[in-house]
Amino acid sequence: MVTPAPLTPDQVWAWLEDVPDPEIPVISVVDLGVIRGVDVDGWAVTVTITPTYSGCPAMGVIAMDIELALAKRGAQDVRIATQLAPPWTTDWMSPQGLAKLEGYGIAPPRAAGGPDRCPHCRSQDVERISQFGSTACKAQWRCRACLEPFDYFKCI
C-alpha cells in the first residue's frame, strides 16, 4: 500500500486551470484572476477567491465549481475563503486569458477604457453602444466596419 504523496499548491493551481469561468467558459478561474491564494495541508485545501463585482452572481457558482473540481481530484475538506482587499482588477487577468477572450469574440480590457479593435474583423473603427452589457463585467460596443456588435470586458 503506497501512501499518496501530499498535495502541493502547484498541483492545485494546475487543477484550477481546468475550472472554467461559468459565464465566459473559454477562460479559467485562474485566467480571470479571482484566485488569490491556495493553502494546502495534507489533502485539505483552502482556496481564497475575490469577487469581480460586488453583486456578481457567478461567484457562488465559481466557489461550487472549484469545490467540485478539487473534490473530484481527491482533495479532502475543500474550503473556499473570500477576500475583499485588495479589490479585484482586470490587471490580474492572465495574458493567455486576454488572448482567449479576443478569440472568443470579447474585446479584452484596456487601460484606455475601450477596445482598440473589433474582435471579429480587427477594424479599429468601433463605437460604444452602452457602458453595461450582458454581465456586470462587460460593456456593449459595435464595429462600424463589419457592423457586428460585440462585448468589451470593462477595465477596472
Binding site: 460586488s54 453583486g55 475583499l84 452602452s130 453595461f132 452589457g133 454581465t135 456593449q140
Partner: protein, 247 residues
C-alpha cells in the same frame, strides 16, 4: 443604537433601497441597452448592500444575517436617505436621482477608503470602482436628456424640481455622524458634489434651484416618506410569507 453600527447600516440601506428601486425597471426599460444598464447598476448596489449588511450583522453581534437585516426590519429601522426611496417616476427622473446619488457616492466611498476601520475601507474600495462607472453613465444620460428634445428637457426640469429638496440630506451631519470616527462627516463631500452637479446641470441646460431646503428623516429613520413602506412590502414579501424558503 451604537453610532458605528448605525453608520454601517446607512451605507447598506442606501445601496439596498436604491438597488431595489432600479431593479423595478428590469424588463420595462425604454430600450434593451438601458434596461440592462439599470439591472447591472442594481446588481452592483445590491452586492454592495450585502457586503455592508454582513458587516452590520457582525458589528451587531446578535446572531442575525445579512438577509435578516434586509428582509426583517421595518420602515423605521431603515437608515437610507430619503432620496433613494422616492418612486422611480419616468426614466429621466430615475437617472437624475441616480446621478445625484452617484455624485455623492463616489467621493464618499473614496473618502471611506481612508477609514481607520479596515473593513469599512475594504468595502468602500471595492464599491468605489463600481460607483465610478455608475456616475459616468448617469451624468452622460442626464446631459443627453436635459440637452435633448423639448419634451425630454421639460421632463428633466420637472424631475429636478421634484428631487432637489431631497438631495441635501445626503450631506447633512447629525449626532450619529458626530459620535463616531470610522467615517468622515457627510458635509465634507459637499464641495465635490457641488462641483460635479453644477458642471453636469449646466451642460444639461438645467438651472440649479436656488433653495437649499433639505427634507431629512431618512438617515435617522424617524420620518421616511410614505413610499418606503410600499417598496418594502414588495421587497420583503417572499421571505416574510415563506420564512423557510431557500433558493
Amino acid at each position: 443604537m451604537d453610532a458605528a453600527l448605525e453608520c454601517v447600516l446607512r451605507q447598506a440601506d442606501n445601496a439596498l433601497v436604491l438597488g431595489h428601486r432600479l431593479s423595478e425597471w428590469c424588463g420595462v426599460g425604454p430600450v434593451l441597452e438601458e434596461d440592462i444598464a439599470l439591472a447591472n447598476t442594481a446588481l452592483d448596489l445590491i452586492g454592495q448592500a450585502k457586503l455592508w449588511l454582513e458587516y452590520a450583522a457582525e458589528v451587531q453581534g446578535a446572531g442575525r444575517t445579512a438577509d435578516d437585516l434586509a428582509f426583517r426590519r421595518d420602515v423605521y429601522d431603515f437608515k437610507n436617505a430619503l432620496l433613494v426611496e422616492l418612486p422611480n417616476g419616468d426614466f429621466g427622473q430615475t437617472l437624475l436621482r441616480e446621478f445625484f446619488f452617484d455624485a455623492f457616492h463616489l467621493p464618499w466611498l473614496q473618502a471611506l477608503t481612508a477609514s481607520p476601520d479596515a473593513r469599512v475601507a475594504e468595502v468602500a474600495a471595492k464599491s468605489a470602482k463600481e460607483a465610478a462607472y455608475h456616475l459616468e453613465r448617469s451624468a452622460e444620460t442626464v446631459i443627453a436628456l436635459g440637452d435633448g428634445t423639448d419634451e425630454s428637457h421639460a421632463r428633466m426640469a420637472a424631475a429636478l424640481a421634484y428631487l432637489w429638496p431631497y438631495t441635501g440630506e445626503l450631506m447633512v451631519d447629525d449626532a450619529v455622524d458626530l459620535g463616531q470616527d470610522a467615517m468622515p462627516l457627510p458635509s465634507s463631500i459637499r464641495p465635490a458634489w457641488d462641483t460635479t452637479v453644477n458642471a453636469v446641470l449646466a451642460e444639461a441646460m438645467l438651472t440649479r434651484p436656488d433653495s437649499d431646503f433639505a427634507h431629512t428623516g431618512g438617515r435617522s429613520g424617524v420620518r421616511h416618506t410614505e413610499h418606503l413602506g410600499h417598496m418594502l412590502a414588495q421587497m420583503q414579501f417572499l421571505p416574510r410569507a415563506y420564512p423557510t424558503a431557500t433558493w
